[in-house]
Amino acid sequence: MRTITITVAVDVAGALAAATLTDNLYLFDDNRANGSINQGTSVLKTRVKEGDRLLWLPLPFEPEVFASIHAIELDARYCEPQRRTYPGSHVVYWEGVVKQDLEIAPYRVTFALGDPPGLLSSAENPSLIGDGDRPGGAPGRRETAGKAR
């Protein structure tokens, strides 16, 4: 079991101005060495194994503007992320355990942004990927939503 952080960066002013997360969302993880790909894009693919613990952490570009991860929606067969709050603060993060090995599990990120907060969801989906989708093996395959193995 490993702990993998997925940092979800959002250009808050850009997203509020355009009323979309498209082109304003950048995801990163600390698992590139083990095969995660598409770092710094909205379609990050995080390589995971059964039992891995995932933490989704927020990184808003404007620290002065309210920005909070409102939801992480993922196929419950693979992972059920839970909303958590840092003790003694209002900062929200999401945590989930990978329930079983998988090929690909896309997920959707929804942010609450601004004051009063409005909800914006990602149009392009980041994913969790398994060992069957290693880069170099067959690049570009399985770009669409996968099925359970």
């Binding site: 250009d11 990163f28 590139r32 710094g40 952490l57 808003p60 840092y86 003694g88 603060s89």
Partner: protein, 266 residues
């Protein structure tokens, strides 16, 4: 008014530390994608600095560039400024309260096993202060206890866990072509905003001479290591080059797109 440009520097600290290099482990973004910055989310960001000039050619605004650094295996930067210190103190207060009660109970009944067990448990739950090498090369006790990525204090028994909050990297200097050429004038400032305990690097930019200029970030990267079973924050100094593209155009009225005379009166 000066244009505020923020460059976010996101670093996979553990990977950079182990590889002894920032290349491949650093990602840069700024808030000027719509204004012409290129290669967002990569190590090759080119930040657009769009200056304006009066009709006589003198500079009309002073763009401000801010750098904010964050680590990929670290707590979110939006947590309160002294979060790690507050959590350390809170855990020590809880442990001390428990120990005080246990000690009182032991005084009245020195043989009470449940009290003795409680005391041992309270001591075991105490957090750990790692050491760090100070400017004299001596190992010194770090003021902050280790936290995990959920903001909880890490007890001694869990030191080997893989979810420890790594001290975020910090910028220690900005140098390079853009500074030598008098395009960027960098300095370190303080702010109530919680990132990096409120310290950040900022620069004003001269836009008199448009062009592409490189600059060098000097970055200290930390990783928790163990020496003789003792946790130590070890640091490494690294550098990374990035670029700015300076443009300048004549000042226009933002409402009319025309000259900078009086605003139109409705």
């Amino acid at each position: 008014m000066a244009q505020q440009i923020t460059v976010y520097v996101l670093i996979d600290s553990v990977a950079a530390f182990e590889a002894n290099r920032l290349e491949g482990n650093i990602y840069l973004m700024d808030n000027l994608r719509t204004e012409g910055s290129k290669n967002q989310g990569t190590g090759q960001l080119v930040t657009a600095i769009n200056g304006t000039a009066w009709s006589n050619g003198t500079q009309a605004n002073e763009p401000l560039l801010n750098w904010l650094v964050a680590g990929l295996s670290s707590l979110p930067v939006t947590l309160p400024r002294n979060y790690q210190l507050d959590r350390s103190r809170e855990s020590e207060r809880v442990a001390l309260d428990a120990m005080r009660l246990d000690a009182r109970a032991l005084k009245s009944d020195p043989g009470a096993e449940n009290v003795r067990d409680g005391l041992i448990r309270a001591a075991a739950a105490l957090g750990v202060h790692p050491r760090f090498e100070n400017e004299h090369g001596e190992l010194e006790r770090h003021a902050l206890q280790l936290l995990d990525l959920r903001g909880e204090v890490v007890p001694e028994a869990d030191l080997e866990a893989d979810d420890i909050h790594q001290l975020p990297p910090i910028i220690t200097d900005i140098t390079g072509e853009a500074v030598d050429e008098g395009i960027l004038y960098p300095a370190q400032y303080g702010t109530p905003v919680p990132i990096n305990a409120g310290w950040y690097w900022s620069a004003t930019a001269s836009t008199q001479r448009p062009g592409v200029y490189s600059y060098t970030m000097h970055i200290k990267v930390y990783k928790l290591i163990f020496a003789g079973g003792q946790p130590i924050w070890q640091d490494k100094d690294m550098t990374y080059d990035s670029q700015i593209q300076v443009r300048s155009r004549q000042m226009v009225n933002g409402f009319t797109g025309g000259g900078t005379g009086l605003l139109p009166i409705c």
